[in-house]
């Protein structure tokens, strides 16, 4: 939990360094890599693969992933304007929400998890505020 706290502060600093102008630059992938960089500083390894697409209000996107007990994970997402607020929620293989850490700052969001069992999990990405926008999700583990 202490580690998550330190990470959270790192994320705050990374987020605070963004200006509205810089948020408009680049792609959703570059934006999400910036967020994930905070976790990399704490030993999290960022997967090279990513999931991207278009997110619309009221139409959450759900991704299936396979996680291992013993690893810690952070799922990070970012969307471009006109998205204003994103949320990332994690669920177990039975569709029950799992407890973990969450971070949310405008159109970037992340959810952290220490799986209590290996297997299938689901990641739900929702556009809480704003309009249809391009998104990108990546994850890191350690």
């Amino acid at each position: 939990m202490k580690t998550f706290g330190i990470l959270f502060l790192s994320i705050c600093i990374v987020s605070a360094q963004e200006t509205p102008d810089s948020r408009e630059r680049g792609t959703s992938r570059s934006k999400v890599l910036e967020l994930a960089g905070a976790f990399a500083n704490d030993g999290y390894k960022i997967r090279d693969g990513y999931w991207s697409g278009v997110l619309e209000p009221g139409k959450p996107q759900i991704l299936e992933v396979n996680l291992f007990q013993g690893n810690a994970y952070w799922f990070c997402a970012a969307a471009l304007a006109p998205a204003r607020k994103l949320s990332v929620t994690l669920f177990d293989e039975n569709g029950r929400p799992v407890e973990g850490e969450v971070f949310q700052d405008g159109s970037t969001a992340a959810a952290g998890l220490l799986p209590d069992a290996s297997g299938r999990y689901f990641v739900r990405l929702e556009l809480a505020e704003g309009d249809k926008a391009e998104f990108c999700l990546i994850y890191s583990y350690k």
Partner: protein
């Protein structure tokens, strides 16, 4: 950072901890997206979890297979996956020379599959990182190399081979893991092998291959053995596979890796 943004962020952070989301419906789970590059864990991720659950002796476990001579592109693609997993094992063993050797084998095999120059230049990066013992960068580079090989295959209308690279890497990773678990059984370690969703995904993708590929003896063998594995690793209520099941997984994976590495498996 302004105090306001900290407070606001802390409030959001805390709210996230307390918020209880509604469970997903069966329809939502069924319609979930499967994206190979994120849905299927990398061998490095698998090995990282093994490190947490046990103390594998990666140096002993790094016993790379060399690719036998074959004209079968399917067999080469499967072997490429095996080699990528070998690269991760060498990284876990912190064996710089091993990483370089495996990196060279990956590039040589990739050349036979006519992948792009950009993949070949990855070999130099692997060497550089290995020279500097930059294990973290090597994990990323190996995954990036694998993804670039797949991209290059897809661009060359060799899209059908892509899933075979993924399958090869998964088979080698599972072989190493199951052998370790069978010798050091614990429910936590055995739980790592409970991957029915991954096996189902791989089988579904293999089922999409053209008939001529599916009929090839090695591809058919891989498909049949993955079906056997599915029965062994599918357990109810998230219980880990039993010791006997782990031994069977290990034996099945050993025989598959040997057959993939064997030269001239008739195609």
């Amino acid at each position: 950072m302004s105090s306001r943004s900290v407070i606001s962020a802390v409030a959001l952070f805390s709210a996230g901890l307390l918020a209880a989301a509604e469970p997903l419906t069966k329809e939502q789970m069924k319609s979930a997206v499967l994206s190979e590059s994120v849905t299927i864990p990398s061998p490095g991720e698998f090995f990282s979890a093994m490190d947490e659950q046990g103390q594998p002796n990666w140096t002993q476990m790094y016993a790379p297979k060399s690719a036998g001579t074959t004209a079968s592109r399917e067999q080469m693609a499967l072997m490429l996956g095996v080699l990528v997993a070998d690269g991760y094992i060498a990284v876990e063993a912190q064996d710089g020379q091993g990483v370089k050797n495996t990196g060279k084998d990956i590039i040589n095999l990739a050349k036979k599959l006519n992948v792009s120059q950009s993949v070949i230049s990855r070999g130099n990066s692997i060497n550089d990182f290995a020279e500097n013992n930059d294990w973290s960068a090597l994990r990323e580079e190996l995954e990036a190399t694998q993804n670039e090989v797949k991209l290059s295959m897809a661009e060359q209308k060799d899209k059908d081979l892509v899933i075979l690279v993924t399958v090869g890497a998964w088979i080698r990773g599972t072989q190493v893991a199951s052998e370790f678990v069978s010798k050091n059984y614990s429910p936590g370690l055995a739980g790592l092998l409970r991957q029915p969703a991954i096996v189902e995904y791989l089988l579904a993708e293999l089922g999409k291959l053209p008939d001529r590929m599916q009929k090839q003896p090695l591809v058919a063998e891989v498909e049949q053995k993955l079906r056997d594995i599915l029965n062994l690793v599918f357990t109810k209520d998230r219980t880990p596979p039993a010791p006997d099941a782990v031994k069977d997984v290990s034996a099945t994976m050993n025989s598959l890796v040997n057959d993939i590495a064997k030269g001239n498996k008739e195609s």
